[in-house]
Symmetry: C2
Subunit: 374 residues, 2 copies
Amino acid sequence: VNPGPLPSALEWEGGIPGTLLLLDQTLLPDEERRLRIDRVAPLIEAIQRLAVRGAPALGCAGAYGAVLAAQSLQGEPASSRLARLEESAARLAAARPTAVNLARGVERILVRARALSAAAGDPPGGWARELLDEARAFHREDEVTCRAIGRNGAALLSERPAILTHCNAGALATGGAGTALAVVYAARDSGRQVSVFANETRPLLQGARLTAWELQRAGIPVTLEVDAAAGALLASGRVDAVVVGADRIAANGDVANKIGTYPLAVLAREHGVPFYVAAPLTTIDATCPDGGAIPVEQRPPEEVLEAAGRRFAPPGVPAWNPAFDVTPARLVTALITEAGVVRAPDRAAIAALLAGRPAGGPAPLARQTPTSSG
Amino acid sequence: VNPGPLPSALEWEGGIPGTLLLLDQTLLPDEERRLRIDRVAPLIEAIQRLAVRGAPALGCAGAYGAVLAAQSLQGEPASSRLARLEESAARLAAARPTAVNLARGVERILVRARALSAAAGDPPGGWARELLDEARAFHREDEVTCRAIGRNGAALLSERPAILTHCNAGALATGGAGTALAVVYAARDSGRQVSVFANETRPLLQGARLTAWELQRAGIPVTLEVDAAAGALLASGRVDAVVVGADRIAANGDVANKIGTYPLAVLAREHGVPFYVAAPLTTIDATCPDGGAIPVEQRPPEEVLEAAGRRFAPPGVPAWNPAFDVTPARLVTALITEAGVVRAPDRAAIAALLAGRPAGGPAPLARQTPTSSG
């Protein structure tokens, strides 16, 4: 297998003025089309219809989106443009409620914009150019973070690991190689024979449409199953580890992720299979005390009443369609971050991680990383 | 609400010669079309593509199918027709492997045919006519059984029960009012305000297409959700009981049912919600020692790669598609049968049930039935 490069969910084209190119993930795997976005309003629309999705990718989209707003304010007087940027940024940050990364990406640009406003005069390259540099740095950091998550996670796996994953936490969900799938890619790159079982992930079928496409392209063996088959699959003994991403992690380690993640965590524990959450530190929201405080987006019932664009339920039947569920920290075997692996995450371990200290002792985080999952 | 009559999955039209009418469930809810079947080969085809499905309905289809075979053998010499009937019956009984009821329905007619062959001369109405009477009796018994299951199950429920169910274990799955849904209908008929959460049941969407249609028609409030949302739903505290049907129950109480049933049982226990299996005694296979001995049908991968007739997965990606999973008896709060309710079913309780004795004591089964689910 000679894998191609990983797909890129989004990139900035040009300088200032420039354009945000988004791979329209609603069209995959049938069509690889890039949306050209140069204003905040169509970006919000693209985010809401999930043309771009995945917590870290939403972070990058938020940062670049704030640059789009700044770019359109280049002609404004310096005295008013920060306030107008803050307005656009607030709308953008609220486009989807659950993933904390979207607001984080937006905020990163705002912090820089506020600092620039406090200084006397524009920087030599111009205000928006400076903010674009910040967004690009944020994007590059995400790439580096994904690689580190991959390395840290791969160290937990056996020599021929079969991984069960849910939704898409791959290159398509980040500015880099993914979170859960970065672990898969890193395992392959370290010489392991890794294979993946992908839950199709109803209602929007991100597993079938995105994860299967991305892994097939990368030359990783992937098998699809319906979400409800995960119980039988885990009971069959064929899964060595469940690895998923996260949209928001509360201060106590509770994890909000795509609807259907929580049942996997319960079933993994039932069968003694490790349940790993792979996510960057930016996904941790220290202001959320626990999972109950994480807002869970309710999406339109039509997503449940249809599949692949065809309606099959009888007219008039209502549907319940939360986009995410919450997995209690006690079900998480380990949290895989760029800063290291936290086994049995809890409030103290998360606080230590955010403070740059290893949980439970003075050893550097790298020394805590086990070399096999057992 | 003024509910209409329940839909009928199958009925025999005429005498001998006659025709088996099957409601083509693959077309629901868009179209109510009845297939007219007068030979065994097209009946096997209809069973395999799930035009008729559900363990008790397959039992009735098996019985009527054996009559179709007998009817086509009316002109044969009495000396050879039994052997030819046995041949057709064996093909029919093997059309699907998991539900034991299909083979049971076929066998019921064979037993009668063997008895007739042992007697001197044909009965006054003719050989096939006598077998049709037997099939009709089998069908009527299923109706009576469904009503008894409903009554016994309804007695377990609270005054305003919210039921979570999977797949379709309703009128469409039986020769009567259903198994799991018979419990819902009986609860309504006894004055309770019952409502249902229906898992859509990928890959073939029997929950969205059949259960939603059947319940809506009957005036029972029903809400659909994707199968993977059941964890969040149970965690939310909105479900009072999970009630499902069964395709085969082993001698130790292990239950084979539609893929996705087992995760519900694990999640129900996690949240202290009772998990009930509603099934006729004919679903119990005393020759199967435990769930590991139940054959689980593997269905075509295309069912997973498509939904509602549209393909969405990338070409070349394989899928794993078991039609059923096995729920260990220890996760079953109670088995609801026509002969009574068996709490915490195990080998001894199942043996006692089949022997017509209540489990654990001399009290009649009716006295064992609790009046509330707690």
